[in-house]
Symmetry: C2
Subunit: 311 residues, 2 copies
């Protein structure tokens, strides 16, 4: 589909929108497009953002868009909603808060569901980043709500990962943080106009000091999301991390991203080849035999591999 | 490993602990054990529990254990911590709040990490449920923190899914709920002694009334986690749902569970066969070629399947 790829590379908004819809579809269709675009990627800085619900991530994204636009950058945003795989996602729809940028042709915002993917963000997110990267966006923000797999995946999909926290959340938040501490390159204390913000900064810094990290020590920065003027330290931290990556070789992060993407595709193709070729009826019969305890799932899967892959 | 399987079936605590450690390991080792135990499963009612951080899920689990023990049931608990795949999990460790049951041999509590699995809860959780089911526990509670993939997976691993909410959380919680509404069989409003609890109950009920569900209408029940006396409605709702499933054929839910488990195993085995057999060096070279844009990931994966699977 070279015409569509050309449109994307030329930054044509309709082509980009069409390409993003296409990569949410089945692998057979998106493969050609991604193959065409892939050699033209690598220009964008990919920033992942995660954190618990209610911390104001979308507000920060909005403020970052404002700051980046002032610098003349083109900005792409992918908001992944992992809460609605059953409906195919996009419950967040076109987020109201980003409407102020909706008339700016140099800003492209897209909401995606995780589409029943078994792998958190799934390959469609990586493909969507490829589309925006090839379209020449300077910064690509990938935002996801929630804890768990999507948070892990965001590290494996971005150059710089921001973890957003907020003062005064519930009681097992401290426990949550233990997991989040491992994934952030930059920690953001949002709603920093609240009285206990400084206490949270100190807590995060002391937790970080206990960890065995490589030479990059993640900074903790304060923001007030609805005031883009408070983003100076955040933007500096992102620039510092980018500089660090370039020094240490951005390829190391690039390898993580490529490796993760390939693993997602291997999983997806394996399912497609086994279940797709088998036909629903036959696979269904096998599931029935597992339900009736006639066959255990490991033996079932061994049987599938023996039948469909001669290795 | 029939000796270990016998120990598990006899309810021997050390055998159960050993078996649970084994299923967290590599597929080759756990396969035999799961195969031995699998025909002896199906007796337990599997209850999944999820909800945002800070809602008091562990406190409810604790209270449920108390109530179920009073009825003479044996209870198994698997607390999955998806926040720490990098360390292999178990940051939650042996939860302090469950210590009061730690001397009761009829209660078995185990924390698991999601162990870098690409699939949320991962196959190890399904295997751990199999171990506890074969060991004769009447009720198995699977608890997970957070939103996203783990929440989806919990539906695909349990007969009855509880979604726990609490009055007065942050601003995108309403959005989160849209995703959560789809997965709950029973909704629990915890910390119901707070003033705005009834308002949340009404909100949830009205959201539920808008949804296109099958004949089971998920009830909304109130609890005060630290007071097991407040669990009467919750326990009744769980019993009602179980009765409903048995009427509608528990096999429908059983099929979902078996299908999901098989998909996880197909994914895992595909990765193992491709990357495992290829050898780290050769796979690594392929990743390098993707990083340098010489090869796109789709073509790379096509190449892998062509080499390692003759289809």
């Amino acid at each position: 589909m070279p015409a569509l790829a050309d449109g994307v590379r030329g930054g044509d908004v309709r082509s980009i929108a069409k390409a993003l819809t296409l990569v949410e579809g089945d692998p057979g269709t998106r493969k050609g497009l991604v193959g065409d675009l892939f050699p033209h990627t690598g220009g964008a800085h990919i920033i992942g953002m995660t954190g618990p619900p209610g911390v104001g991530k979308s507000t920060i994204v909005d403020a970052m868009i404002t700051v980046l636009r002032e610098r003349g950058e083109r900005v792409g945003v992918i908001a992944v909603d992992p809460t609605s795989p059953f409906t195919g996602g996009a419950i967040l729809g076109d987020r109201i808060r980003m409407v102020e940028h909706s008339t700016d042709p140099e800003v492209f915002v897209r909401s995606m569901g995780s589409r029943g993917s078994l792998g958190g963000l799934g390959p469609a997110t990586a493909d969507a980043v490829t589309v925006l990267d090839a379209a020449g966006f300077d910064t690509i923000l990938v935002e996801t709500v929630g804890a768990g797999q999507a948070e892990v995946d965001i590290v494996r999909a971005s150059h710089t990962t921001l973890v957003v926290e907020v003062p005064g959340l519930g009681d097992d938040v401290q426990v949550m943080k233990a997991g989040l501490m491992e994934i952030g390159d930059v920690f953001v204390v949002n709603k920093a106009d609240r009285p206990d913000a400084d206490r949270l900064v100190v807590q995060l810094e002391s937790l970080l000091s206990l960890m065995d990290r490589d030479e990059w020590v993640p900074p903790v920065v304060k923001t007030v999301g609805h005031d883009p003027g408070t983003l100076t330290n955040l933007m500096k931290a992102i620039a510092d991390h980018r500089e660090y990556l370039e020094g240490a070789g951005i390829d190391a992060r690039g390898r993580t991203i490529a490796d993760h993407w390939m693993r997602l595709l291997i999983e997806e193709q394996a399912l497609e080849r086994v279940i797709g070729r088998m036909g629903d009826g036959e696979y269904s019969e096998m599931v029935d035999r597992v339900v009736s305890k006639e066959l255990d799932p490991y033996s079932a899967v061994d049987d599938l591999f023996a039948r469909y892959f001669s290795t």
